[in-house]
């Protein structure tokens, strides 16, 4: 009896309490993506992309099938094994290469595949003349698009066409008082050896440092694309601390500043912004002869950046992320345009990093009064959520929760200003909202960070572009953080396990029998799937003083 069960939809179920679970996890991690990690049974998914990633990382079908056979509790359907072997075999039948005369060419190890591909409608326009039976010229400008299209056809091409060196610029790691961790070095090296690709590391595992290490290997001018301004500042300060780069060498290219330096950090937002339907900041890509482009949080890469990236295939590209799963399902574009997965953190490492089960989540349900229920039932659909989410009944519960965590750093998060103001008044705590001036904001955050201030009420709108300070307790009264992915990320960032190994607390206060509760159910599912502990409590019990 082993610990792995193969489902017919190509998901793998891993019983985590089984004694072989750790070995099995190591065996399947290269070719299966972890999808859900609740307490007993983890779900992995085997996708063509995951298999091709495994191929790109040097694993072969034999190894994959071996893992299946040695860990599977039940016989694995033969068709599945055949399918896996066939899928893996499709990788690398086609190669992009540089031809001494014809420049960029598509070369086939298998002539039949080339014949199939050159006949495909979508690809015709990207190819030039036939060089020989196994080779066809490719328009250099189509390198990225061709890779995308080939992936869609199920014949992912390996890119051996090499990279431009770019403008040289000396970057070195400044290892004073800290050291590059083993896995960080491995990640950077395997990226550099592969030329371009994605490094998958959990939050807090030091992705920025991997980026810095990659820069020191490339020794060239670097463009770094990140999600938002806060991240720009983080990268900047990290680079200053970890490398020999000086302030003058690092430029910031954002909504407010447009400096172009040997190392330039830009936000996706700026790059994707359009003026009169035209991407007005495209020139940044041409501004220098970049030798390396780093994409932070590659799972959030917006569509326009993909399009731009398609034209940058001759430059080294490093993607950094905690997960390859994209909400929009464009994993294939990451694979073909940024590159295959070059490094994946070992699971144990992730656990040590505290990424798993970092917080304890409690949903507290309040009852609406009869009159509120009637009002809720008759409210217009668009007002319903606002109505139940900002129920007056929540205030008292929040007050009780805050009282219980007296002395701990507590954040109260909500979407509706009226409700937040009311809470601020009730808790005698300052409120940060959209209209709060930046100076005031920073002052309050500083006071919170230093422990001078214990309780802070923040609006969701306000905290979108600002790095929330870490807190031991968060109470969410309304709204949610965008996509589920983002929500987990923010929660993860917000709630770090405390030094005394007491886990952080996340409360969601919801109104019973309303759509507020339905939203909470979605959150519950996702958090449970991420391995967070999740419980539900009644507001009445909380108020009556029950232990949570």
């Amino acid at each position: 009896m082993s610990c792995l069960i193969v489902q017919s939809d190509k998901t793998l179920l891993l019983e985590v309490d089984h004694e072989l679970a750790d070995d099995c996890r190591r065996a399947i991690a290269p070719f299966a993506e972890l999808e859900r990690a609740p307490e007993h049974v983890h779900t992995y998914r085997v996708t063509p992309l995951a298999l091709w990633n495994a191929r790109a990382a040097g694993h072969d079908a034999e190894q994959v099938i071996d893992a299946f056979i040695s860990y599977s509790r039940f016989p694995v359907p033969h068709s599945l094994l055949v399918d896996i072997a066939e899928t893996m075999d499709r990788y690398g039948r086609l190669r992009l290469q540089t031809h001494p005369i014809h420049g960029l060419v598509l070369h086939a190890v298998d002539r039949a595949v080339l014949e199939e591909v050159v006949r495909a409608k979508k690809i015709k326009g990207m190819l030039g003349e036939r060089v020989d039976d196994d080779t066809v010229a490719v328009h250099p400008s189509e390198r990225g698009n061709l890779k995308q299209a080939l992936l869609k056809l199920g014949w992912p091409a390996e890119d051996y066409a090499g990279y431009v060196d770019g403008e040289a610029h000396a970057v070195d790691l400044a290892e004073d008082g800290w050291q590059l961790r083993g896995y960080q070095r491995e990640a950077a090296e395997s990226f550099y050896a592969g030329g371009s690709g994605v490094v998958v590391l959990p939050c807090g595992a030091g992705k920025t440092i991997v980026g810095a290490a990659a820069m020191s290997l490339a020794e060239s001018t670097t463009l770094i694309l990140v999600t938002n301004t806060v991240a720009v500042h983080q990268w900047r300060s990290e680079l200053l601390r970890r490398t020999t780069l000086t302030e003058d060498e690092i430029g910031e290219y954002s909504g407010t500043r447009k400096d172009i330096r040997p190392v330039t950090i830009a936000t996706y937002q700026v790059m994707a912004a359009r003026k009169k339907g035209v991407h007005s900041h495209l020139e940044l890509f041409e501004a220098r002869d970049w030798g390396l482009i780093i994409y932070d949080e590659v799972h959030l890469l917006p569509a326009p950046i993909f399009r731009m990236t398609a034209d940058l295939q001759a430059r080294r590209r490093l993607g950094l992320t905690a997960t390859l799963v994209r909400e929009d399902g464009r994993e294939g574009d990451v694979f073909s345009l940024i590159g295959p997965k070059r490094y994946d953190a070992p699971w144990k490492e992730m656990e040590n990093q505290g990424w798993i089960a970092p917080a304890d989540c409690v949903e507290v349900r309040v009852n609406l009064t009869d009159s509120e229920r009637l009002a809720y039932a008759t409210a217009d659909p668009e007002d319903r959520y606002r109505f139940c989410a900002s129920s007056a009944a929540k205030t008292e519960v929040v007050r009780e929760l805050v009282r219980r965590h007296e002395g701990e750093q507590t954040l109260i998060i909500g979407s509706y200003i009226d409700q937040l103001d009311e809470l601020g008044e009730a808790l005698e705590a300052p409120v940060i909202k959209g209209e709060t001036r930046v100076k005031e904001r920073e002052r309050l955050f500083e006071a919170f960070r230093s422990g001078e201030l214990h309780t802070l009420v923040v609006s969701k709108v306000a905290n979108f572009s600002i790095d929330l300070p870490e807190a031991g307790v968060a109470i969410q009264v309304s709204g949610s953080f965008g996509s589920r992915q983002e929500e987990a990320q923010r929660l993860g960032r917000l709630l770090r396990p405390k030094s005394d190994s007491r886990s952080a607390r996340f409360y969601a206060v919801t109104a019973r029998d309303t759509i507020d509760q339905d939203f909470a159910a979605h959150r519950q599912r996702f958090l449970a799937e991420q391995g967070y502990a999740y419980r539900i409590a009644d507001a009445d019990d909380v108020l009556a003083g029950d232990e949570l």
Binding site: Q7, S8, T11, V41, F74, H78, Q524, I536
Partner: protein, 822 residues
């Protein structure tokens, strides 16, 4: 044509030996064995031996046996036809020794094969010589690649051409001494003279002969028929050969190598090599354990998938195409639902239908629905469920892999539709499984070696269609869990062995070796699940049916395979509550079967849904009564006479009734309440919730349509032997009157009649029956019943001395003849 069948009473004594006579001398057991080998000979039972002989030597019947012969059997037969031809000059037939020498085959193997050929009456014994039935000469036109004998070839030649040949050979020309053709044939039949003729032809002629030597014996030579000339003037090798009769023109441009010449040149052997045994199978050796596990796992997947699909279809049945069959979209959807491809889905669907689990219901807008049989099947143990599917597949002429291919008019053939039947499919499947089962333990024979083995086993069947069937059979066997990693599983070997051991279907037998072997490999049903905080429950293996049903009710199935993942949602919990489960029952059930502690959010979910469940209540009423004065309704509610109206008070001023409005109106009028009808809004529409099923009849007929006529059982065969013997006796001996006992014809009730007739048939007794002929005249007959089926009695009528069929309903009664004559 079939002079074998020349009947003739008597048979022996001076008359030339005939096939019929030989057949007559076979023992009863041998005849019964013949019927077992060739069931088509006794449907219907022939009247006598002569009729049997002529049927046994009829071309279609012989072709049917030939198709089942293996390569060596065919070679032996070809040898007999080639050498035993009387046109070669000798008496018809071949001695065993000569045949063995010509084949160069081991005596033992030859002996076995010959007794097989004798048993199936393709060959008969004429003293020491073996003779093929004559129709074989027509069927096997070029036995062993040999051309016709000289006598045949020369018969059509003009006289002057024959004269030239005779001259060339130095023989007398013209008529006299049996004519030139006979003379030439006799001369070339002697090895010495033939050798001399070959020398005369010259060394350059030899390569020409060699090209035709091992067949085909015909060659093309332009103007062959007119290239005459005598030996002296012939210059080219071909002309010399023609002039010497070593080649004979057969048509304008073709020549043939005479059999005598070829046999001589071959040095007496018929074949390069007698293929007494097939090639060894070759392939990978995946390991016995892997094979068993893989096959059993697949078998489990098959029964799970069929159940899953049919349950889906019970709720949301796909329509029957106008042309019959299943639409491509429905097939794709099924494939998606089962996480498999269309080929596999098509196979499962066809197999489910063949097993009688799926049928089109008879309505105009037909739908594909599970049959009532499906409900029984679902309750059976896993191995029986599989056996039923496997056997249905084996015996079905439907070839699922043909679905989606185009027919002759370019239309795509749909699954479950027309054009997927291949009459030979069951036979091919059995052959393939037979070959696989004969493979050594844990050998997974590759397709080529299986095909090669089958080419030996069924040489006359070969062709592209056959090859397709073989490869689809191998694929389907793997999909159905008959093979694992290409090697037959132990349960499959057992299945092949016991398939025809009894008449009952495998799944209905008390005990089957295949079932037991499979049951031991199937995963043990579990009683526990793992319930998790994300509101899923994982069953790490198959569940006991009761738990599986309860879980499927209370949770949605999210993924299946080795395990089943269930997800609890508000809707699924509500479904369970709707089905009458209480919140406490659900929690208790989960607590009992969860191997870990129930996550707290799940308890909340159940109690949340339960709290809101049933706050609104709905009932069924067909009509209502309203009255502003509650006292009137009090009075009505208390009225005993109105009890049949099933009135119930909903509110002081409203009464609802199950009776329909006209009924209520009429009854209350009768009782003197004088109600007035209201506009008819608010009547409740009833919805049926029972899963829909197709009628049993249509399912049965669908299954029956596809069946081949069954081979007769052992009893029936013996009865047939008796009937034929009796007929033969009647036909061959002088008629002797049989007198019926005195008195009126017997009368007995129909059931008794049937019983008595069947008894008499099995015991081979003669009985006395009363019979009304077509004009209604009563008569009495003495008959020897052979069999009773389909409302007819087939019996030898001793009074008329012939085999007759009697309509059972016209038989007025039966009396035991022997008893009555005492």
């Amino acid at each position: 044509m079939t002079h074998d069948a020349d009947a003739g009473p008597g048979g022996s004594g001076g008359r030339p030996p005939t096939f019929t006579a030989w057949l007559r001398n076979r023992t009863d057991a041998q005849l019964a064995a013949l019927f077992a080998l060739r069931p088509d000979l006794v449907t219907p039972v022939p009247a006598d031996i002569a009729a049997l002989a002529s049927r046994a030597t009829a071309r279609p019947a012989v072709l049917r046996v030939l198709d089942r012969l293996d390569r060596f059997g065919l070679q032996v037969l070809e040898g007999l036809v080639a050498l035993g031809d009387e046109r070669l000059g000798g008496p018809p037939g071949v001695e065993r020794d000569r045949l063995a020498a010509a084949l160069g085959a081991g005596a033992e193997r030859l002996g076995d094969t010959l007794s097989g050929l004798l048993a199936s009456a393709l060959v008969w014994e004429d003293g020491p010589r073996l003779r093929p039935v004559s129709v074989l000469g027509d069927i096997l036109r070029t036995p062993a690649g040999l051309g016709p004998p000289l006598r045949t070839l020369l018969a059509d030649r003009p006289a002057e051409a024959l004269d030239r040949v005779a001259a060339g050979l130095g023989l007398a020309t013209g008529y006299g001494e049996g004519g030139p053709a006979e003379r030439i044939a006799a001369a070339l039949g002697e090895p010495a003279r033939l050798e001399r003729a070959l020398e005369l032809a010259g060394p350059r002629a030899r390569p020409v002969l060699d090209r035709l030597l091992w067949g085909p014996p015909q060659g093309t030579v332009s103007g062959a028929a007119n290239r005459g000339g005598d030996l002296a003037s012939a210059s080219s090798p071909i002309d010399r050969l023609l002039a010497l009769g070593l080649l004979v023109p057969t048509a304008e441009d073709t020549v043939a190598l005479p059999r005598e010449v070829a046999l001589h040149l071959r040095g007496g052997t018929l074949f390069h090599e007698a293929q007494t045994a097939p090639l060894e199978l070759s392939g990978k050796r995946p390991g016995a354990d892997t094979v068993v596990r893989a096959a059993a796992g697949q078998a489990f997947t098959v029964i799970r998938s069929v159940a899953e699909l049919l349950e889906r279809w019970a709720e949301d049945p796909p329509g029957v195409l106008r042309s019959g069959g299943l639409g491509i979209r429905d097939l794709r959807r099924a494939a998606r639902d089962l996480d498999t491809d269309e080929t596999a889905a098509a196979l499962l669907i066809e197999t489910a239908r063949a097993a009688g689990l799926l049928a089109a219901d008879g309505e105009v807008d037909g739908e594909w629905l599970p049959t009532p049989e499906f409900d029984l099947w679902r309750e059976a143990p896993a191995e029986r469920r599989w056996l039923r599917l496997a056997e249905a597949w084996l015996r079905s002429p439907r070839v699922a892999s043909l679905s989606g291919t185009k027919d002759s008019r370019g239309r795509s053939r749909p699954v479950l539709g027309e054009g997927l039947d291949r009459r030979s499919a069951p036979e091919v499947r059995l052959d393939v499984l037979g070959v696989l089962a004969a493979a050594p333990e844990d050998l997974a024979p590759d397709e080529e070696s299986v095909a090669a083995r089958l080419a030996w086993l069924r040489p006359r069947r070969q062709g592209p269609a056959y090859a397709d069937l073989v490869s689809s059979t191998l694929r389907e066997a793997a999909l159905l869990g008959l093979t694992g990693r290409g090697a037959p599983a132990p349960h499959t070997r057992a299945l092949v062995e016991e398939l025809d051991a009894e008449d009952a279907p495998l799944a209905e037998r008390d005990k089957t070796a295949s079932g037991e072997l499979l049951a031991a490999e199937m995963p043990e049903p579990l009683e526990t699940v793992l319930v998790q905080g994300d509101l899923t429950a994982v069953a790490p293996g198959p569940l006991v049916p009761r738990l599986a049903r309860e879980l499927a009710l209370a949770a949605d199935v999210e993924s299946t395979g080795g395990a089943t993942v269930y997800r609890f949602t508000e809707a699924s919990i509500r479904r369970a509550l709707d089905a009458g489960r209480g919140a406490d029952d659900l929690i208790a059930l989960l607590e009992r079967h969860s191997s870990t502690e129930l996550p707290q959010p799940l308890r909340y979910l159940v109690s949340d849904v339960a709290r809101r469940h049933g706050r609104l209540r709905i009932g069924t009423a067909s009509s209502y009564l309203r009255c502003d004065e509650p006292t009137v309704l009090d009075q009505l509610a208390g009225d005993r006479r109105a009890a049949d109206l099933q009135l119930f008070r909903l509110a002081p001023t409203v009464i609802a009734s199950r009776a329909t409005r006209p009924v209520l109106l009429g009854r209350l009028e009768e009782l003197g309440y004088h109600p007035v009808a209201e506009a008819a809004d608010g009547t409740v529409q009833l919805t049926g919730t029972a899963p829909r099923r197709a009628g049993a009849a249509s399912a049965a007929s669908a299954a029956r349509d596809l069946e081949e006529p069954a081979a007769p059982g052992a009893e029936l065969r013996m009865a047939a032997v008796r009937a034929v013997r009796a007929g033969d006796e009647a036909a061959t001996t002088a008629r002797r009157p049989v007198s019926a006992p005195d008195g009126a014809p017997p009368r007995s009730p129909t059931a008794a009649t049937l019983r008595a007739l069947s008894e008499a048939a099995t015991q081979g007794r003669r009985v006395w029956i009363g019979y009304l002929d077509t004009e209604g005249r009563a008569s009495s007959r003495i008959v020897e019943p052979a069999r009773v089926e389909g409302g007819f009695l087939t019996a030898y009528d001793a009074t008329r001395a012939a085999v007759h069929r009697f309509a059972v309903h016209r038989i007025t009664g039966v009396a035991d003849l022997d008893a009555s004559s005492h």
